[in-house]
C-alpha cells in the first residue's frame, strides 16, 4: 500500500565504515501507534535521523498522506521534509527556552506564513495553538518561558508543537525518559489521543517496556541495524529471536539484571540517558 503512511525500503546508514542501519524495511500505517524498541546501538535513533534528513542514507523512505502518493524523502533537506508533515522530538527535549510556551507553539504553527504576517506582532492565540494547549494541558502555563518548565511539560510542549504543525507523521525519541510515573501515564494517554486521528501516524522509540506494553498498538524490534521482529506486543514478546537477543544481553549484564530470565518486557531497563536527564 505505497502512498499511505510511512514506507521504508532497504534503508542503510553508515558512519566511517560502521553500519548503524543495515537494510531496514518498515511499514507504518496511519492511525497506528508503533513502538520501536531494541537494545542500545540497535539503530533506532539513527533510523529516525535518516527519515528526517539529519543523516545521509541510502535506500528509500516514502511518506504518503490521504492527499497524495508518497514522496521520496532521501536526499531532501531537513526543513523540506518537515514541511511534508513529518515532525520529531529528541531524546533531550529541545524547546526554545527563552520563549514562552505560547510563542513556542505559535512558531511551530507558522512555517507557512508569509513575510507580511511574520513582520507583524502576533495578535491573540491562533485556533490550532489554543487546541494544542488544551490537548497537552499547558493552557495555564502558556505565558511561562519554556526554560522553566518541568521535564515532562517540556516533552508535552514538544508534542504540542508537532500537533500545531499539523504533522501527519510523529517520530518521538524516548518521550517518557526521565518522567515520573504520573507523567508517563499522562504522556501515554496523550499519545493515544493523538494517534486516534486516523490521518496521523505515530512512531515512538522507547526503552520503557511497561510503557510500551501499556500503550503500543504495534511493535518493531531492531537489532544491530536490522529488523528482528514485528507484530503486536504479545507476538513480539513471544518471538524466540527477541528473547534470545534480550537474554543474551541480559547474561552480560547479570549483575544489573537479576530477573533476566523473564520476557523482555519484565527486564528492568538500564537507561543511562534517562537517569542523566533527570538532572
Amino acid at each position: 500500500m505505497i502512498g499511505e503512511g510511512l514506507t521504508i525500503r532497504g534503508l542503510r546508514v553508515s558512519f566511517d565504515g560502521y553500519t548503524a542501519v543495515d537494510g531496514v524495511d518498515l511499514d507504518v500505517h496511519p492511525g497506528d501507534l508503533r513502538f520501536l524498541i531494541g537494545p542500545n546501538g540497535a539503530g533506532k535513533t539513527t533510523l529516525v535521523d535518516a527519515v528526517t534528513g539529519l543523516v545521509k542514507a541510502t535506500g528509500s523512505v516514502r511518506f504518503g498522506t490521504d492527499e497524495g502518493d508518497g514522496t521520496e524523502l532521501i536526499g531532501k533537506p531537513v526543513h523540506k521534509i518537515a514541511r511534508l508533515g513529518i515532525g520529531r522530538t529528541f531524546q533531550t527535549a529541545t524547546v526554545f527556552e527563552e520563549l514562552t510556551v505560547l510563542q513556542n507553539l505559535d512558531i511551530a504553527a507558522g512555517a507557512g506564513r508569509g513575510p507580511l504576517t511574520m513582520l507583524r506582532r502576533r495578535k491573540g492565540v491562533p485556533d490550532a495553538v489554543a487546541k494544542a494547549l488544551e490537548t497537552t494541558g499547558l493552557t495555564e502555563l502558556r505565558d511561562r518561558p519554556a526554560g522553566v518548565l518541568a521535564h515532562g511539560q517540556k516533552q508535552w510542549l514538544e508534542i504540542g508543537m508537532l500537533l500545531v504543525q499539523d504533522v501527519r507523521l510523529l517520530l518521538l525519541d524516548e518521550p517518557v525518559a526521565g518522567m515520573s510515573h504520573e507523567e508517563r501515564e499522562a504522556t501515554g494517554e496523550l499519545l493515544q489521543r493523538v494517534s486516534e486521528d486516523s490521518r496521523r501516524t505515530v512512531v515512538v522509540i522507547e526503552h520503557d517496556m511497561d510503557f510500551m506494553r501499556a500503550f503500543a498498538r504495534s511493535v518493531t524490534v531492531l537489532h544491530a541495524g536490522k529488523v528482528l521482529s514485528e507484530g503486536t506486543v504479545a507476538e513480539v514478546q513471544a518471538d524466540p529471536k527477541v528473547q534470545e537477543v534480550y537474554l543474551g544481553r541480559a547474561r552480560d549484564e547479570e549483575s544489573t539484571a537479576p530477573a533476566a530470565a523473564g520476557p523482555p518486557g519484565e527486564k528492568p531497563t538500564p537507561t543511562p540517558t534517562a537517569s542523566a536527564q533527570e538532572a
Binding site: H79, A82, R88, T94, L99, I107, M118, D143, G152
Partner: protein, 378 residues
Amino acid sequence: MTTTSAPTTTPAPETASERAFDRFRVPGGFALGAVLLLAVAPLALSDFRLALLAKYLCWAMVAVGVSLAWGRGGLLVLGQGVFFGLGGYAMAMHLKLADAADTGVPGALPDFMQLYGTGEALPWWWAPFANPVFALAATVLLPMAVAALLGFFVFRRRVRSAYFAILSQALAAALAIWLVGQQATTGGTNGLTDFQGFFGYDLDDPANQRTVYFIIAVSLLLLMAAARQLFVSRYGELLVAVRNSEERVRFLGYNPANVKLVAYVVAAGMAGLAGALFVPAVGIISPALIGVVPSIGFVIGAAVGGRGSLVGAVLGAIAVAWAQSTLSDAFPAAWTYLQGLLFVLAVGFLPGGLASLGAVVRRNRSRTRTGTRSGEAA
C-alpha cells in the same frame, strides 16, 4: 547544535498589568528620546558638540543592527565595518562627483583622482554614483546585497558560528587592504575627504551641519522604531528560536538560514546607512573605519550597553564613543586598559550589558519563588 550565545533577555512576561505598562512605556520612552535628540540637544549643545553627537549617533545606528543580529539572532557580526564602509564610500563617491561637477569644468575628475589617478576618464564603476538617487539607494542596498551574498553562502552550509565570526573579520581585513591598494580610484589610505557640498548645500555652513545632525537623529529614531517592530514581531520570536536551537527550528519546517539571513542583511543595511550619514557629518570615510579593529569597535558599545536591549545598545554605543573621545586625550594608556576591561566585564560577567543590571537584581530576588513554583507544577 544548541545555542551558542548567552541567555540575555527573556521576553517580557505578558501579564495584563505589565502589558498596559508596556503600552505606555515604549511610546513614552520613544517620545522622550525624540525630544532629547531633536529639541534639547540642538538647543543645549554648541555646534561643535552637536557635530560630535552626530558622529556618536552614527555609531548608535550601527549598534541598532548589531542588537538585532547579535542580541536577538546570536550572530556575532564582527564585520560591520565592511557595511559601514560600503555605505560611506557610496555616499562619499557621490559627494566627490558632485563637487567635481560644481567646479564647472565639464568632465572634471574628483580632486584626488587628478593627484593620484591615471588622469584619464572616470572609472566605469564610479559613473553611476553621479546620480543622487542611485547613490542614496546604493548606500543601503549595496551593503545589503554584499551581506545577502555572504550570508547566503555561509548560513546555507551551516558554517559554525565561530567560523562566521572569523570569516567576517577576514572579510573586513580584505576590503580594507583592497581599498588601500586602489589609491587611484579610492583614495587609498587617505580615504575620501574634503567634501564641499551635500546635495547642493554647503557643508561649511553651520546651519547645514545642523541639518545633517537632524537627518541623523531622525534616521536613528526610525531605525530604532523599525528594529523594535522586528523585535516584537513573529519574526523576532522566530529569530530568538533560531538562536536557542537552530536544529529544532529546521524540524519545524523553517529554513533557519533564511531567518538569520534577514537579520544579517537588515543589520548590514543599517550599518550602511550609518556610514552614509557619517560622511557629511564627519567629512571623511577611509579604510581605517573598515578593518578588523573598528569592526570589533562597532560591537563593544552594544556589548556594554546590552546587546539584547535596543535602548541599551544605542546608549552603550554613544557612551563608549563619548568616553573614548574624552578620555583618550587625557589618559591614552588608561583608556586602552579601560576599553579592554569593558570587554572583559561587560561580555564576560554581564552578558546582558548595563541594561540587564536591574533585571539581574530582580531575578536574584525572585529566584527562590520561581523555583518553588516550577517545583509544584512538576
